[in-house]
Amino acid sequence: MISFLTSGFFASMLSFLAIYVALTVILHLQANVAGVVNFGIAGFWGIGMYATSIFLLRFNINFWISIVLGAIVTGLIALPLARILLNLDGQAVLVGTLAFASIVENQIFVNREITGGSRGLGTIPMPIDVGPYRFIVYGLVVVAFVVALILYAWKLKKAPFGRLLFSIRDNELLSRSLGKPTFRHKIIFFAITCGLIGLFGGLTAPLHSFLLPMMVSPTVTFTAWIALMLGGQSKISGAVIGVLATEFVFFYLLRVILPLPAEAAQMVPFFIYAAYGLMLVLVLMFKPTGIMGGKRRGN
């Protein structure tokens, strides 16, 4: 048992689950608390991951500083995008962020000199070198970051700023008539939370150790969305449960527990994504409030 818990496999599973929980919690803050429909999560996550790795590998900056720089870069890129998009309606924001993410993916692919393009970018070492236990130690560090994020989200929803965000989501014009500069708040909050997505992108870099443009695919975005929709849009617990229900059940149980022949195993990822799509349709159709219930986001 101990050897399983300290194994690279367990550590990697734990870390990735934690990262997806983080992305889903941030998505919950953006989409359900602030009412910004972000379909470009993969883009911000990718910027954070690549920027961190570039600072680390090309400029020899310490990993932890690189992560912070990566998050700042992500936030700074999100800021003008938010300025342009966030006073448009929900559909436009959705389409705009989706387009942004696809352009990020494309740029990572094209700018070979900086990102390595399709040859990849590596190798990113485990930042905490404690011998054989380095994977699990890093995994626990990632979990600690995620716990901090959850605490922040939980506290924020009860703080005056959370109340303000809810008011903007519910009725922006009414909130403005109470003197709230809603547009500015939305922009700043979007940039900050995108910076956080970038931070978790940076934390993902050592887990992948070798970065490829295809990692920054929209699948990341949809995984978070599906987890949030399935778990329950209006609750932080929904985000956590949702990730466990999708990622854990599909990826780990399906791969580890079910003994599949090699040929069928190749099909597993495709099956999973198709099942994600199906789940998204079914959840929105039959139980839009998700597993954890609660309120549904307004129109």
Partner: protein, 265 residues
């Protein structure tokens, strides 16, 4: 500035000076107001038949809509503010506040939360301030207690349920902002009589005691005659006649313009 018979000091309340304000939608002129001052009395009324442009004028004053031509100056004490240089939320912070004709509410906020939101200063609303909710609640407590005591809500700890409660909450939120100039768009529509009387009593008390003046847009003329010190009559986008309730009541033009409307009612 002309003297006000009931207000203590117009220098301290807000006054709106509308100069040649024009609003067109497409080619249609909806509002065309020459030169008037609003807010020189405690409670003023804005009346006129449907489609006269009353709500549009209010929207122009608070920058929910922008002017096609002309300007509206908001005198706040000795400050002169061109409303076109501001927007809805900055004007609210300058104590030029409006209520809504159509029922508006925050679906996820309780009555108390809604009041706290209105009362909270911008400096408390920062993404990094996580531990100041107690402080913000305490700051609003006195007002919350007052309004929950003064008005009746079925579930004071929960959400505003009926249309009337939402309307009432809308007015309360406006009052919490300490307006110097308060625009009320059909404040008593949908309110039960006792609550509506309480709103009016409170407005009269506040305008008499505090630095606040009110402009009421209403179809309920009995209410207008009863509470307004001064009335602006609007038709076809223009302010046609101004005067005291008695002057307006007896005016032929007013009666003529209202005939169609009265027979409908």
């Amino acid at each position: 500035m002309s003297a006000c018979n009931t207000c203590k000091d117009t220098e301290k309340t807000g006054v709106l000076h509308i100069k040649k304000a024009v609003k067109r939608f497409g080619g249609k002129t909806v509002v065309n107001v020459e030169d008037i001052r609003i807010g020189t009395h405690c409670i003023e009324g804005l009346i006129g038949p449907n489609g006269a442009g009353k709500s549009t004028l209010i929207n122009l004053m608070t920058q929910k809509l922008s002017l096609t031509e002309g300007e509206i100056i908001y005198y706040r004490g000795d400050e002169a503010i061109n409303v076109s240089s501001k927007n809805l939320n900055t004007l609210a912070k300058l104590n030029l506040v409006r209520s809504n004709q159509i029922i508006q509410d925050f679906a996820s906020l309780t009555i108390v939360d809604s009041m706290i939101l209105a009362n909270t200063d911008l400096r408390h609303e920062k993404f990094y301030k996580l531990f100041n909710d107690k402080e913000v609640r305490e700051a609003a407590q006195e007002k919350i207690d007052f309004y929950l005591d003064y008005f009746h809500f079925d579930f004071p700890e929960g959400h505003a349920l009926s249309a009337g409660e939402k309307k009432l909450l809308d007015i309360i939120r406006c009052l919490i902002l300490n307006p110097k100039f308060l625009l009320l768009d059909e404040p008593t529509a949908g309110l039960p009589q006792d609550q509506s009387d309480k709103v009016i009593d409170l407005l009269q008390k506040k305008t008499a005691e505090e630095d606040m003046c009110v402009l009421i847009v209403e179809h309920n003329l009995d209410l207008i005659w009863r509470v307004c010190d001064y009335i602006h009559f609007m038709a076809d986008g223009q302010i046609l006649i101004q005067g005291t309730p008695d002057e307006i009541k007896g005016n032929e033009t007013v009666n003529k313009k209202y005939i169609g409307e009265e027979s409908n009612a």
